[in-house]
Subunit: 320 residues, 2 copies
């Protein structure tokens, strides 16, 4: 097809794990190009083999250094990887000091490590869906591991972190106490806790508090024990143990049927968020945007409440 777009060639390239085809397909999916639906439908039957691992935690917890250390270990075991970075403070997604970024170049020549960073803004709420679709492309290409790196504070980022087989929550003594961690919703998504920068003051205390809080939770609702590990990603200390825990968690949930349930939940959330994007897209036509703009001044003049204007727009109907 001279000059045209050859979908089949692109799909073949992705399925053959070709780096260029992969990059191109992912860009199309990330940008929600018209052809994205065809790409994803065609690749979908080839997904499900990759293990999806989430690395999340507050800014400054050393997630990127830890991710890099894990990548090295996976590569030693000859596993191929795809990394989806949705953390504005991560060197993988470009938002870090120069030193960090330079450190990341160690993977730039390794064709078995594909890194894609996604902006956390400008996705109109569709970021979680897009990130998972990017993971599907990497999965279909045969990558053994897909790693998501997110900053676990916002709801979208928590959604992404939860959309994996195993979620690792990384904390440091400076990232706050146990109550903050609970309030941020990190307790609910963690399969494994890591106290990173373990040589710092307060690391032992944080690890102890986490273990105690987790122990109390297990009493309420017995389930798999959530391990609390101490690492020093800089020195490599504890990384091997973390890898063992990740494997052990995966094997446990796989063996118990929980993995299937997790994946079912994940797909359900994706479909619901897809529907929500469509609802917005259909409702907001030119006529309604115009009506909103025309009536807004009446709201500022207090002649109309915000709810009353929403009612008015709603009454305009929203079919087609």
């Amino acid at each position: 097809m001279a000059g045209g777009f050859d979908l089949q060639a692109l799909l073949n390239g992705v399925l053959a794990n070709d780096q260029r085809a992969l990059g191109r397909a992912i860009t199309l999916v990330e940008n929600d190009a018209p052809v994205a639906a065809d790409i994803l439908d065609a690749l979908y039957p080839h997904t499900g083999k990759a293990r999806r691992i989430g690395i999340t935690g507050p800014p400054g917890a050393g997630k990127s250094t830890l991710t890099a250390a894990l990548i090295r270990k996976f590569r030693e075991a000859h596993l191929s990887l795809g990394i989806v970075a949705v953390d504005p403070t991560s060197p993988f997604s470009g938002g870090a000091v120069l030193g960090d970024r330079v450190r990341m170049t160690e993977f730039s020549l390794d064709r078995q490590v594909f890194v894609r960073s996604m902006a956390s803004r400008g996705h109109l709420g569709g970021l979680s869906a897009r990130a998972q679709e990017v993971a599907d492309v990497l999965d279909a290409a045969g990558r053994d591991i897909v790693l998501f790196e997110t900053v676990g504070v916002g709801q979208t980022e928590l959604d992404i972190a939860g959309a994996v087989d195993t979620t690792v929550v990384v904390l440091v003594p400076e990232s706050g106490d146990i109550i903050q961690t609970m309030k941020a919703g990190l307790m609910e998504i963690a399969d494994i806790f890591v106290v990173n920068k373990a040589d710092r003051d307060g690391a032992d205390k944080l690890a102890r508090e986490l273990s105690m809080a987790l122990h109390l939770r297990i009493k309420e609702a017995p389930s798999r024990e959530i391990p609390v590990l101490k690492t020093s990603a800089e020195s490599g200390e504890g990384i091997e143990a973390l890898l063992t825990e990740i494997d052990s968690h995966f094997n446990d949930v796989d063996g118990s049927g929980q993995l299937l349930q997790k994946r079912l939940d994940r797909i359900e959330k994706r479909i619901i968020s897809d529907i929500e994007l469509r609802l917005k897209g259909r409702f907001w036509n030119d006529e309604k945007r115009k009506a909103l703009a025309e009536r807004l001044p009446a709201v500022t003049r207090k002649e109309l409440s915000p709810r009353a204007l929403a009612d008015f727009l709603w009454e305009m109907g929203n079919d087609k």
Copy 2:
């Protein structure tokens, strides 16, 4: 009205700045009770007098201590306040170490300081709308100042922080470098930057970097200069200067007509998010929830892609 709910009495109580009526009305609005729409419509003409100030920044930046210091200053000037805390790490919203919480009790006997903390989870995306409605109730009650305290990382929290007249972004040297701040979207919402814990290493460097970055931005799009202040909320250093800057910012935007535009934008966003909540509520009926549950296993078996199932649900129509 024996045993019944007397809306008019509640409204009168709010308009008379009665603490109990205020608490009750806010709870009804926060929980989106059926009567919330009536309360808000009735109070809406009485809003618009309160100055709305947002205090935001990453966890650990000392926002609560700074907020407390500001409250003290406003009280010295005999201004009444409403505080809406949507920060999971804030002592105002309950997520902090005991010492912080004890410190906050200093306002518990002052009837001119009304504090309401809102959970950042479980609001189905309606948190930003609810927080602003709570502010409307405080505004209608005649509170001179409404302070929002949020952790500026997630999109919802940024939305709330942006829904004010003046946004103060609080950073500390530990909260990361200038690129991280830019990536997190804090550059775009800040009217005033505060480098808190100014006695720590790196405070001067961060302040200098911020000033330089802001200077570059002003060259691109000339607007009001965004000041960078150094404070130490613990010792009270710089708080007076911050208050002066907040006043100066408010007077500038008020005088130039920008305040009106800001408030217009804010109302527009509220209406859009209200509509989105309604769209979701209408689409998801029992029939569609059932169809989703029944067909999900086919997606896990790869017989159907997530998009194809979304298409199926979409085709079921979404009227009524």
